[in-house]
């Protein structure tokens, strides 16, 4: 029965990783960062995620403190990583607080969303 025991133990140990096939895309970092204060208007928003993105179904909404939605360019993947989304900011941002609401579809089909805020210094 040593063989049986070896097999059972192997299975117990080895099957640990099986089935971890799906994961959600988490926002790891952004530029400008959450709760940061920047000196000048950013020309683009850069969001780095934990998973590769389906860019066609990922994007952001940029709003002012007064809840006004600002125009943003088409979200694109960074050249060197499909985990990084770059969104051009169409016109310079005036001083004030801005909110970024993001939604992401990871390559494995999971959608996730969240929000962060940054401030442009007067």
């Amino acid at each position: 029965m040593t063989l049986v025991r070896t097999f059972l133990l192997s299975a117990l140990i080895l099957f640990g990783g099986v089935g971890t096939a799906f994961a959600h895309a988490h926002l790891l970092s952004s530029v400008p960062a959450d709760r940061s204060v920047v000196a000048a208007s950013p020309s683009e928003l850069t969001l780095t995620f934990s998973e590769g993105l389906e860019i066609a179904l990922s994007g952001v909404t940029l709003t002012t403190a007064g809840k006004q939605v600002l125009p943003t360019g088409k979200p694109q993947l960074a050249k060197d990583s499909d985990k990084v989304m770059v969104v051009p900011v169409e016109s310079p941002l005036a001083a004030g607080r801005y909110r970024v609401e993001w939604h992401a579809l990871s390559r494995d089909g999971h959608s996730s969303h969240g929000a962060y805020a940054f401030t442009v210094r007067p």
């Binding site: 059972l8 096939a21 994961a23 959608s111």
Partner: protein, 302 residues
């Protein structure tokens, strides 16, 4: 878990289970069973295989609107044409779906030729096995592996494909075991059934070993740690699946090393036990697939 996500889990379970059954069973019929035995077993498996051949395309078709509902976060998004067309034509998930839809067509055609051999197709079960195998392997393209980049992502996808194929071959072939064991009692089929069972025993070792080896590689590539955080529902479900698979391996080994020798020694009573254990393995395998479908939708880091 919200409605669309639960529906998506059910859809994935149906696809996995029906796909594995078709793949393993058709592989058994195409490769392990000699012609006469194949001709005798196929009709006995008819209703099960027919159900699987219907369920695979149904689950495939439903996946697209359910995925849209999951993305939109509401049921009505399932019929959002803009969302559906973006999903279908602008994402890699959409490309995988289109390939699956085409394979489903081939699968249905292949299955029909197994029932109407008038068509000049040499090995219809090999066609069914190939199509269902490619459908199963496509799971690797829509899983976590696809979310990783470069060579690591490719290795991961290849490993995942091997894992679902070896697991599917094992599970699906188990469904053929009971009728094959019953054939041992029929004088005209006895010798071929013995041959098929010997081949199954050899191939089974390979499949189970491959399942475990690819499981190990998957651990190294994806998780990188033991599922020991019991406050995470994801990791608890993972440990539950490990336990189920361990019992399955135990049953398979007891069949092979305790009961088969007894059967060879002339103890016909062992036949019933072997069949029951094979069915128990199959039930545990289905439960393991159900766990995969559920925890596959949970967040591993949550």
């Amino acid at each position: 878990m919200t409605g669309p996500i639960a529906a998506l889990a059910l859809c994935r379970l149906t696809f996995d289970a029906a796909g594995a059954l078709l793949f393993g069973a058709s592989l058994f019929l195409a490769v392990l069973a000699p012609a006469t035995l194949r001709g005798a077993l196929a009709p006995r498996l008819g209703p099960t295989l027919r159900a699987a051949v219907v369920l695979v395309p149904v689950a495939t078709l439903l996946w697209l609107p359910l995925e849209a509902a999951q993305i939109g976060g509401a049921w009505h998004s399932a019929l959002d044409l803009d969302l559906l067309s973006a999903l279908l034509f602008d994402t890699s998930l959409g490309s995988v779906w289109l390939a699956r839809a085409a394979l489903c067509g081939l699968l249905a055609a292949g299955f029909l030729t197994t029932r109407r051999p008038v068509l000049a197709v040499g090995r219809p079960w090999a066609i069914v096995a190939t199509c269902s195998g490619l459908l199963l392997a496509s799971l690797a393209l829509s899983g976590h592996a696809a979310a990783d980049e470069g060579a690591r992502g490719t290795v991961q996808a290849g490993n995942e494909a091997l894992h679902v194929l070896s697991g599917g071959a094992w599970l699906g072939a188990l469904a053929v075991l009971p009728p094959c064991l019953a054939a041992l009692r029929e004088p005209s089929l006895r010798r071929q059934a013995e041959l098929a069972l010997r081949r199954f025993s050899t191939a089974g070792h390979g499949a189970v070993a491959l399942v475990i080896a690819t499981g190990l590689a998957n651990t190294a590539l994806v998780l990188g740690r033991w599922p020991t955080d019991w406050s995470s529902p994801y990791q608890v479900l993972l440990v539950a699946k490990v336990a189920l698979v361990a019992v399955m391996v135990g049953l398979a080994l007891s069949n092979r090393y305790l009961l088969m020798p007894r059967l060879a020694g002339g103890h016909e009573a062992a036949l019933g036990s072997i069949g029951r254990r094979a069915l128990a393995e199959l039930a545990l395998g289905a439960a393991a697939l159900a766990l995969v479908a559920v925890f596959g939708l949970l967040d591993p880091t949550g």
